[in-house]
Symmetry: C2
Subunit: 207 residues, 2 copies
């Protein structure tokens, strides 16, 4: 049966083929709407065959969730590392937002899947994803507190809470972002300005 290679639209097969197909479907349709038979068809195989590579559906989900976080984490880490050690706070903050948004919006079926389905999966799966998630959060907290020590961020800003605000706003872009109406990097820069400077005009009637 080596002739039926180019089934459907997915050239990749095997373990990674299943994961790729599943991530794509989950990111688009959500956890509950995607069945193993859908994943199998998208990957070009039959439902039962999935169990040769994975022990259960939750097994697939777990792996996708972890890979999703890891992808953003890596992207952000690399972009920040590429800056010189004494880069201005503005540039560091921009790099974080650019990395997160690009990983989420441009590449990253896994990242999209994570943001979309994390709130829908059974508790067991969610818990399995927490360590990777916590690692990324800790990374961001460290980065932000460095900026605070440098006196670039106001001292009255509650950092863990701001991190939640930030990630929430960034992940929400997934619901409406349209790559044809502007790049993810431009959006990131715009968001960065808003977070850094606020929306209040300096000259206004502000008490």
């Amino acid at each position: 049966m080596a002739l039926s290679k180019t089934v459907a639209q997915n050239a990749e097969v095997g373990r990674t083929g299943i994961l790729d197909a599943a991530a794509l479907l989950l990111g688009r349709q959500g956890y509950g709407a995607v069945s193993l038979r859908m994943i199998a068809e998208a990957a070009g195989i039959k439902a039962g065959s999935i169990y040769y590579h994975f022990a259960s559906k939750d097994d697939i989900i777990t792996e996708i969730l972890d890979a999703g976080i890891q992808a953003v984490h890596d992207e952000v880490r690399d972009r920040v590392a590429a800056l010189s050690a004494d880069a201005p706070a503005r540039d560091v903050f921009r790099a974080v937002l650019r990395g997160h948004l690009c990983a989420l919006l441009e590449h990253g079926a896994y990242t999209s899947a994570n943001v979309r389905i994390f709130g829908q999966v059974p508790p067991v799966v969610r818990d399995a994803n927490l360590p990777v998630r916590r690692a990324y959060e800790a990374f961001l907290d460290n980065l932000l507190s460095e900026l605070k020590v440098r006196d670039a961020i106001r001292s009255d800003v509650n950092l863990p809470r701001f991190r939640l605000l930030l990630i929430g706003a960034l992940n929400a872009t997934l619901e409406w972002f349209d790559p044809q109406k502007g790049s993810a990097e431009d959006l990131a820069d715009d968001y960065a300005d808003t977070f850094l400077n606020g929306i209040l005009s300096q000259s206004g009637d502000n008490t």
Copy 2:
């Protein structure tokens, strides 16, 4: 069968009893995880009986989604209307955030349900909810553009985009907010300060 009134924990019965039970479950477990039999049991009736009040499961969902948006819209509108016409921009903005967050986090099984499941429901149901959703968005856009005309918001702020950023950040609080660690109003004020002033320190090394 008038004696089996106080079944389970739900005193309300009939149409609104079903809606209340469904909203509570949907807000906690998500769309895919909640079945009609679960809703029925929580409402103290049997699954088939639901079809006396509703034509389908999607019918229930649609009604809950609409009520969820309407609740936030009303709360925000009332709080803003309670201010004097020439109230400072800061206060108007605070009122918006307080209204939205209180409706979402304190009262409002319907609101929580909306935020949680909107991304998971079938397209037909989502489309049915769009008009109410658009009305709230238009209301916010009007409010923000008034503040801009008053020269309280910087002229280079892209308002529709900022509204998306704002709502995204507010709705995301649902995932982590814990009422025992602080009130929704305090959180709203904190968020308002961040959005209005930004996080950048004035004295810093900012180019």
